[in-house]
């Protein structure tokens, strides 16, 4: 039974690694060429290089650019809020809660239903701020409830299963909720009532022209982050959450009620998503049962970009992704000669997702995983 020695490639760099490097180089060059073309466009509009790639390229005025950036930032803030839920659940339980996007959608739906009622009986017009506060509270309530229910029914029994099983379950939950909402409320798109003038009008802040609603989004997002920071860093609940995220067993030995903490984690993530839902509804005014799908995936991307388990990173990742998604089609793709770039906004987001997971799965700011999950 002596071995037949078969000496093959003696180094760790295989064809696959070479292929990956090729992709990296290709993409980086694409981005660089696009950016260069764009800059060329900006500074010398009739520059032959720019013209070669895209004869119709018009470049962006400073105002347009700023406008794009603002849209990107506000959308990114919402992605960030949703991403917090993904990050927290992954940090504590080690799986991707695919249905978190539906929690967000539930918040948006609740906001729609509530605001319709307020609009019907006039409260919306007479006291908008009160309505806003009320719908935010209601959305937080419903989203939190949904997240907690999800955990109790679908995920708790699977606490000790290999990672893929809760993921598949969460896909089922996501499907179920999407279609239940469609069945309950119908497939038509629902619009929030008209926002008051003083909120939606454009304002000028430091040379940036920005709609009031976007300012609202950024403000609410910031306030939520502060609240979350306070919760996680300064309260006992937050400490318990961090402990359970580190190591469930040891936390239990230290007297922490692990089940309750996990429920709290889901609840807090759900609440953030609910707030994001309201903001989405206010900003985009339309919500359907499928509203949660794309933002959900993009929020997960944001969570990974920031380092999964890392809350500050999740928000940073969200903002980064939102801006990239807004700006990249026009700054990089259009100068490269790609027509119809606005369609490709989602493709950009997915590409970022793929790239981040391929090349930097630990994210930009470092993962915070539990002891069991650190592979």
């Amino acid at each position: 039974m002596t071995a037949t020695i078969n000496r093959k490639s003696a180094r760790r760099v295989s064809k696959v690694d070479r292929f990956l490097t090729f992709i990296r180089v290709f993409l980086v060059s694409l981005i660089v060429i696009g950016a260069v073309a764009f800059l060329a466009q900006q500074f010398a509009p009739d520059n032959p290089f720019a013209r070669w790639r895209n004869p119709d390229a018009m470049g962006l005025t400073a105002d347009q650019f700023k406008g794009l950036l603002m849209s990107g930032l506000s959308q990114g803030a919402m992605y960030g809020l949703i991403a917090l839920g993904y990050s927290m659940v992954y940090g504590v339980l080690g799986f991707i809660n695919f249905a978190h996007g539906e929690v967000f959608m539930a918040g948006a739906m609740t906001g729609f239903i509530a605001s319709e009622k307020f609009n019907a009986n006039g409260l919306w017009q007479s006291n908008f701020l009160l309505c806003l506060v009320l719908i935010i509270i209601m959305a937080i309530g419903i989203s939190t409830l949904m997240a907690v229910l999800m955990e109790r029914v679908a995920y708790r029994p699977l606490r000790n299963s290999p990672r893929l099983i809760p993921l598949i379950t969460s896909i089922g939950v996501s499907f179920f909720i999407q279609n239940a909402v469609m069945g309950l409320f119908g497939p038509a798109s629902k619009s929030y009532p008209q926002l008051p003038e003083w909120l939606s009008k454009q304002r000028s802040i430091l040379t940036f022209e920005i709609a009031g609603t976007k300012i609202l989004v950024l403000v609410v997002a910031a306030v939520s982050m502060v609240g979350l920071w306070y919760l996680v860093e300064r309260t006992m609940t937050g400490k318990a959450m961090r402990a359970v995220a580190e190591d469930k067993e040891i936390a239990a030995l230290m007297g922490i009620n692990v089940n309750r903490t996990i429920v709290t984690t889901f609840a807090v993530g759900g609440a953030m998503a609910g707030v994001a839902g309201i903001l989405w509804g206010l900003l985009f005014r339309g919500v359907t049962h499928m509203t949660g799908f794309l933002p959900g995936i993009k929020a997960f991307t944001a969570a990974v970009i920031g380092g999964i388990g890392n809350l500050g990173g999740a928000m940073a990742g969200g903002v980064a992704l939102g801006s990239a998604e807004s700006v990249a089609p026009l700054v990089i793709l259009e100068p490269l000669g790609v027509p119809g770039v606005s369609q490709l906004k989602d493709a950009v987001a997915f590409t970022v997702l793929v790239l981040v997971l391929l090349f930097k799965p630990s994210g930009l700011f470092g993962e915070r995983l539990s002891a069991e999950d650190r592979a």
Partner: protein, 262 residues
């Protein structure tokens, strides 16, 4: 004189902590060498470094005079180094026979075409794989043969699982087998039997063996040489008798007596 396996100044660092450092080691063909040391001494890390599951920070590992540093684990196995795992890691839902058949993967060649066309070469190879698997399993007497072959591995008793681990390693047709605590958790009867089997692995099947063990009787009965690791550093080597009376070794296991801490 070249050794079958030679380790030069091996250093493995995990996040600032040296799991192994300054490790020099060699094994010649046909030897049985034991690696002992208190818990946490870095013995399993040592095996992991050889099999390629862990990257070495410094140093070199030479197998048959060629460096295997940086190779993928399956390449290391292909070159002729097999191992067992400390916490028995079988393929629980594959049958016993399949467990041993699959470990011959790197020694066999048949591809998809053969399987689909059921060519004679394919069938021949499948037969050979099966025969070799049964031979390896037969080494352990009548325990793992017959109707047992078709049973799922998770159904085995603990001792049989450890035996299956070894059978799997044997089936990869290695020259060197790394046994990681082969008798852990076995009762005295099973331990005695396995001790004999380890000797027969060398005498009948021609394997060279490096073994991590805590049970000193096994170490004494079976090893040609013993190497002692403590905190990732080799502190003694020699025959069992030399090593077991070495004061540094005793100190590593038991600590220094109170009066000599003056």
């Amino acid at each position: 004189m070249s050794h079958l396996l030679e380790i030069r100044d091996l250093k493995v660092t995990f996040g600032g902590l040296d799991a192994l450092s300054g490790l020099n080691f060699h094994v010649d063909e046909g030897e049985i060498v034991s690696v002992i040391g208190p818990n946490g001494a870095g013995k399993t890390t040592f095996f992991n470094a050889i099999s390629g599951l862990v990257e070495a920070t410094e140093g070199d590992i030479l197998f048959e005079d060629e460096s295997v540093l940086g190779l993928e684990p399956h390449q290391v196995t292909g070159l002729g180094i097999a191992r067992t795992f400390q916490n028995v890691r079988l393929f629980p839902n594959m049958t016993i026979l399949e467990n041993v058949m699959v470990s011959q993967h790197c020694r066999t060649r048949q591809l998809v075409f053969g399987a689909l066309m059921q060519t004679r070469a394919f069938k021949q190879e499948e037969r050979e794989i099966r025969e070799r698997a049964e031979a390896a399993l037969g080494f352990f007497g009548s325990r793992l043969v017959g109707y047992r072959l078709e049973q799922a591995a998770f159904m085995l008793s603990y001792a049989n699982r450890r035996r299956l681990e070894i059978a799997r390693a044997m089936a990869t047709q290695p020259r060197l087998i790394l046994l990681d605590e082969p008798v852990a958790g076995m009762n005295p009867m099973e331990t005695a039997e396995l001790t004999g089997l380890i000797g027969r692995l060398r005498s009948e099947w021609g394997f060279t063996i490096v073994m991590i063990e805590h049970d000193m009787r096994v170490v004494r009965d079976v090893s040609d040489r013993v190497v002692v690791l403590d905190h990732g550093v080799p502190i003694a080597h020699g025959s069992y008798d030399e090593v077991s009376t070495n004061p540094e070794v005793i100190e590593a296991y038991l600590g220094r007596p109170v009066e000599s801490r003056a």
